[in-house]
């Protein structure tokens, strides 16, 4: 495994992942991951199913804490602070590092409340109406939703619901937004809208996105990490690992690893 540092990284690292291994119970899901996620860029994780890319993503804001028996070895440094140090408050971590999930999951509340709820529990003091509007505008949902702010979040279409979830995430003004295959449940038009939005969002946020769609990685990301399943572990256990982490252009045009080359050119077993 060789990990070359992306050229952009030298400037400013937002999250540094150092020798991280994650297990569910006694089963190791991913092993030995090193990477430096650059600030103000879009970083994409690609790779086949079961390679642990979502697991690593969820480790970045301690969402794995919610899974019974999930444990992490190694260090995840956010602005130089170890997120897994004993005295760290996971709630505070998630307020700084927001998350958008694979399937849209609005709260069973009104559209307005979906956004206001997060802000309120984060101690927002200011004009709530203005915050709701600003968040919906940023997620390109304002025009479609402004007349039905008091309707249930479930009244929106799937793509709109996902944009609502993004609006909900950015309303609390995190520094990083994690997106776990945010478009996998959406149609192409909604996908396009969300991709356009990500170009806007990266001006103010660091974004990390897991995607199955290589074209999407090319379109939206600056840096790409390729994960693969390795069989080197004892027995026939499959363990995920990070194969290559570099500028997106390099990953897709001149990867240094054969496995990466095979995957991005579609010659993957």
């Amino acid at each position: 495994m060789t990990v070359s540092s992306p050229s952009t990284m030298a400037t400013d690292t937002c999250i540094a992942v150092q020798n991280v291994s994650i297990s569910y119970g006694s089963q190791e899901a991913v092993r030995g991951v090193y990477m430096d996620i650059p600030r103000g860029k879009v970083t994409a994780f690609i790779g086949p199913s079961g390679c642990g890319k979502s697991t690593v993503l969820r480790a970045l804001n301690r969402m794995n804490d919610l899974i019974e028996g999930c444990s992490l070895k190694g260090r995840v440094l956010f602005d130089g602070h170890d997120l897994y140090a004993k005295n760290v408050d996971p709630v505070e971590v998630r307020r700084r590092i927001g998350m958008v999930f694979q399937k849209p999951n609005p709260f069973p509340k009104t559209i307005y409340e979906n956004i206001a709820f997060g802000a309120r529990i984060n101690g927002f003091r200011g004009d709530m109406d203005e915050l709701v509007e600003r968040s919906l505008r940023k997620s390109a949902l304002w025009d479609e939703a402004k007349d039905k702010l008091n309707e249930s979040g479930y009244a929106l279409s799937g793509g709109q619901q996902q944009r609502l979830c993004i609006a909900r995430a950015i309303a609390i003004e995190p520094e990083v937004i994690l997106m776990d295959e945010p478009c996998s449940a959406l149609d192409p038009i909604s996908t396009l809208k969300i991709e356009e939005m990500m170009h806007e969002l990266k001006k103010s946020y660091t974004i990390v996105i897991v995607t199955h769609n290589m074209q999407q990685a090319v379109r939206v990301s600056d840096v790409t990490g390729f994960f693969n399943v390795s069989h080197r572990a004892e027995g026939d256990r499959k363990v995920g690992c990070l194969v290559e982490f570099a500028d997106t252009e390099q990953i897709f045009n001149s990867p240094s690893q054969q496995a990466t080359q095979d995957y991005v050119s579609g010659r993957f077993g």
Binding site: M63, L66, V91, N105, F117
Partner: protein, 318 residues
């Protein structure tokens, strides 16, 4: 094999008429058995309605609002028992709902290790299996003697309130309420637990993902999403509390004198039935049937409402 032989083959393999008959009679049998449920319900209604006709004609609706129960003079009014049924079950609900929902949250959220939570869950379920009459025995000989000093203290402290105005002397409404709490807790806990487990995990993740604390997520997202299921469970528990007989009968004191005080003996419809039905005759039987009718209608309304609420919940998640 020549094709000409085929008709013979099929002729031999035709279903014997006996098999068809069996098939049809089995279907008919299940229909008959299924209609028994309707017949039993109808039977219950006719028995209770028919039995109460005499008392209904004699006492009318005044039966519901008067409280003198005088088998010697032949005057009957069920107000004390109706009030007792309502007050004991509502007070029991008031105590059991926070306890039950709190317990359900505690054993569904990952606050403590899974194994301990499972053991606690099984224990609450087993509590539901203890027969009512055993709880009644326990209430008479263990709970009530233990409780009496506490209730006396309450009387000394708050005796100026009508609800605590009498000296506790053993059996009474307050111990009956507590034993009802024990009986309906498992129902509320079990149904709340099921409703909480049905809340999609994605909602929980969404709440944590925007930085909610554990209880922020529980109070603002998870409980509201489960509320209709929990309400259905609470209504079912209310129905059960109103109809509960043995433990209450053994500890409530069975007094037909109306008193506002929770420390005084009282009565419920079901305990009145349990106590008097066997020895009653004449108008008293009819009056008891009338009371049974009232109890049936009360539980019916509550149970049908509970079913509606639960049905609305299952529509929402499917």
């Amino acid at each position: 094999m020549a094709t000409g032989q085929r008709p013979d083959l099929f002729a031999q393999r035709r279903r014997p008429p006996g098999e068809k008959l069996l098939d049809l009679s089995f279907q008919r049998l299940t229909v008959v058995l299924a209609s028994l449920v309707g017949l039993v319900l109808l039977g219950i209604l006719i028995t209770v309605l028919g039995g109460s006709r005499e008392a209904m004609g004699q006492f009318g609706l005044g039966f519901l609002t008067t409280s003198d129960w005088d088998p010697v003079g032949g005057h009957y009014g069920a107000f004390t028992a109706i009030y007792g049924t309502l007050i004991t079950s509502l007070l029991a609900l008031l105590i059991a709902v926070p306890l039950g929902v709190g317990t359900a949250v505690f054993i569904t959220e990952n606050i403590i290790p899974l194994q301990i939570r499972q053991v606690l869950g099984v224990m609450v379920e087993l509590l539901a299996a203890i027969p009512s009459v055993v709880l009644g025995l326990w209430a008479i000989f263990v709970m009530e003697p233990f409780l009496r000093p506490c209730l006396t203290g309450l009387h000394n402290l708050l005796g100026w309130l009508p609800f605590f105005s009498t000296e506790p002397q053993g059996p009474g409404i307050a111990p009956a309420v507590l034993i009802l709490v024990v009986m309906i807790l498992p129902i509320i806990t079990a149904i709340s637990r099921d409703s909480l487990n049905q809340v999609p995990p994605s909602l929980r993740q969404a709440a944590y993902g925007i930085g909610a604390t554990r209880w922020g997520a529980i109070l603002h997202v998870i409980l509201p999403a489960a509320i209709s299921g929990i309400t259905g469970g609470v209504m079912l528990a209310l129905g059960r509390a109103m109809g509960e007989t043995m433990a209450v009968t053994m500890i409530i004191g069975n007094s037909n004198n109306f008193s506002l005080s929770l420390l005084a003996p009282g009565n419920t419809i079901s305990s009145m039935l349990a106590n008097q039905f066997g020895e009653a005759d004449g108008v008293q039987v009819s009056a008891l049937m009338y009371a049974a009718l009232v109890l049936m209608l009360l539980t019916l309304v509550v149970n049908v409402m509970a079913q509606q609420i639960v049905r609305r919940l299952s529509l929402k998640y499917n």
